[in-house]
Amino acid sequence: MVNTLVEPGAVIDGFTIGECVHRGGMAELWSVTWPDSDTPMLMKVPKVSEGEDPAAIVGFEMEQMIMPRLSGPHVPACFGAGDFARQPYVVMEQIPGETLYQRLRELPISYEEARAIVGKIATALADLHTQNVIHHDIKPSSIMFRPSGEAVLIDFGLSHHNQLPDLLQEEFRLPYGTAPYMAPERLLGVRDDPRSDLFSLGVLLYFFTTGVRPFGESETLRGMRRRLWRDPYPPLKLKADYPPWLQEVVLRCLEIEPVWRYPTASQLAFELAHPDQVKLTARSERRDRDPLSTVLRRRFNRELTQPKPKAELAAQLASCPIVAVALDTAEGADELNEALRVTAGRILATLPSARLACLNVLKLSRVSIDKTLDEQGNNKHIDRMVSLRHWASPLKLDDNRLTVHVLEAMDPAAAILEFAAVNHVDHIVIGARRNSLARTLLGSVSAKVATEAACSVTVVRPPRLAAVPELAGTGKGPDKES
């Protein structure tokens, strides 16, 4: 098969071929147009002539299946696909600009910029994983950014779709992918764990902040297999000013066992959005690699490197939600806050990988100029954070599952909704106040949150005490003696 149909001026299934904009090892990219459409489009055409890499064909087949099934801002829109029966192609939206690969010569970049970039990629990955797809080739040249800022993931030729046949499963004796970025479990043939993408993103974060690839550039299987037992040098060994929170994040992504990494890309994005709340463990202080005894134990204790039984991708993601509980720290809310703690405790007890964000809204006044300090000179913001931690302490959560946030806003409901949207919160738990004068005057915060949130909302009320019947009219009530 040779790509005879694709040439400038030709029309394939209504797409008019423009010029060839890129010739890669696996595929060519042509600019194409569609009648009455201004959207810049690219036609990706696999190279399938004699002697070409069979990965080009299988990779194209995976893209042909996966791309039309993806949607949202974090992937290029797909406009059509053609089969091998005539002319294989996929037509997709052309994302303006360059891939992240162009930044390689500037490495290392600042910690703050790396945090922002990797946070956007983690958000894009979270979206991809919810669409049942594991990318499996996260690296700078697979990542672009829209003018509006969102990361866009491209190249799905090595991807795994949880609800479609995995055409790469028996195709190649060796794991296929980009060696420096490949997760260790991939070397054991595991293709259904979304945390493999988090490892690759950890490699990227390490590389972008240190200028050094954590596992080198070895392309040999022997060289790649070392990462199954040998951990990388902690970034602090390479750069003395490396922030401990960032080392914590990087080394957690690069854990050899997937179960020790972040459970989901959403949770990684959450940590990157709140660096001041990253729970520092021994990881953050490490200045050298694991001792040889540990490395040898990993290497020769096969139990540690056995693939684990698979879990359904959707079920796995659903078991690691970000739960936000909105608390009122005002006087007199004790009963409600206790009820909120019981509800939050039940949710967290069934989901050991869920994390809890405790929110409190510090209401800003519309008229007066707000003072950070109260009458006694205490910092209100810090007081609230102390209260939130105090509320959460009976839950006995591991510190890396708990964060506290004081939001300053005039409209509490809007602040909670915005926090939930920005941080990809999966479930909001909020209390409904009873008989409150404020509620009567201002409307219910919980009602607005429950109505407008994009995620599930649980509205909690304190346990029902003795009923307070409306006695006025009939004069009859359960407690009334007659």
Binding site: P54, I57, V58, E61, Q64, M65, D83, F84, A85, P88, N162, Q163, L164, P165, D166, L167, Q169, E170, E171
Partner: protein
């Protein structure tokens, strides 16, 4: 009737096994989703307690343009030598007495395979349809795929849904489709779709199984349909058939 040129949506049923409740539920489900043509891959009888109604229904549909091939249980009605386990044998003996001469003739005259466009319909697998071999591995699937020139082979027999493909380089893939999720059967490779059973599912999911194939988009959707399992099981007990045949419907094995 729909014009042959316009038929794009096929509903494919296999291993109905005289389970009236399951078959009715699947037919309703398929019709509600616009199925234009019914394909039957055999084993209309055996195990279940409603063989007359089941065969009658299939005969009517075939008169209306559906196509049907023969399964090993259908074959055993006229060929008592067919080797089967004791429960299956007991059900066949009972079934034989229930069917009319016309129904028995219909079953015995069904073809072993049928080819339609680039699709092959067969009960067990294509390499040797009369040997009733199960497709349990990619090797079994490969043997069936290379035995015909069809791009898509549809079969049943094992009562466990799966979907195999063979690339141009003869590499195999296997996959268990998620219910209700369309899977594109890419033109660059050849496919063997093994369907789950309508009347006696064995993948620990008691819901009836069948599939729909869109011949235009070339997408296959494996469907699961809940049905009145209690009624089907009660019919088996009421007719004195082996009790295990009723119990296994409850758990889907």
């Amino acid at each position: 009737m729909v014009d042959a040129e316009e038929i794009v949506l096929l509903a494919i049923f296999t291993d109905i096994h005289a389970n009236r409740q399951a078959f009715s539920a699947c037919l309703d489900f398929a019709r509600a989703r616009g199925a234009q043509r019914m394909i039957f891959l055999g084993d209309y009888v055996g195990y279940g307690a409603d063989p007359e109604w089941t065969v009658e229904t299939v005969m009517d549909l075939v008169n209306d343009g559906a196509v049907a091939v023969r399964g090993n249980h259908d074959n055993a009605i006229s060929t008592p030598s067919e080797s089967m386990n004791a429960e299956a044998q007991a059900a066949i003996e009972w079934t034989r007495g229930r069917l009319s001469a016309a129904q028995r003739r219909f079953l015995s005259e069904l073809p072993m395979t049928l080819q339609e466009d680039d699709r092959l319909y067969v009960h067990s697998e294509a390499s040797s349809p009369g040997r009733w071999r199960y497709v349990q591995s990619t090797a079994d699937a490969a043997r069936s795929i290379v035995a015909s020139d069809a791009q898509i082979t549809l079969c049943g027999h094992i009562h466990l849904p799966s979907l195999y493909s063979m690339s141009a380089a003869a590499k195999m893939t296997s996959f268990v489709p998620a219910p209700g999720v369309p899977v594109p059967l890419l033109g660059g490779r050849r496919w063997l779709a093994v369907l789950g059973s309508v009347g006696q599912p064995r993948d620990r999911n008691p819901a009836a199984a069948f599939a729909m194939l869109d011949t235009e988009t070339r997408e296959i959707t494996y469907c699961r349909v809940p049905y009145d399992v209690d009624a089907a099981a009660q019919r088996i007990r009421d007719n004195g058939l082996p009790l295990w045949l009723a119990d296994r419907l409850m758990v889907g094995r």
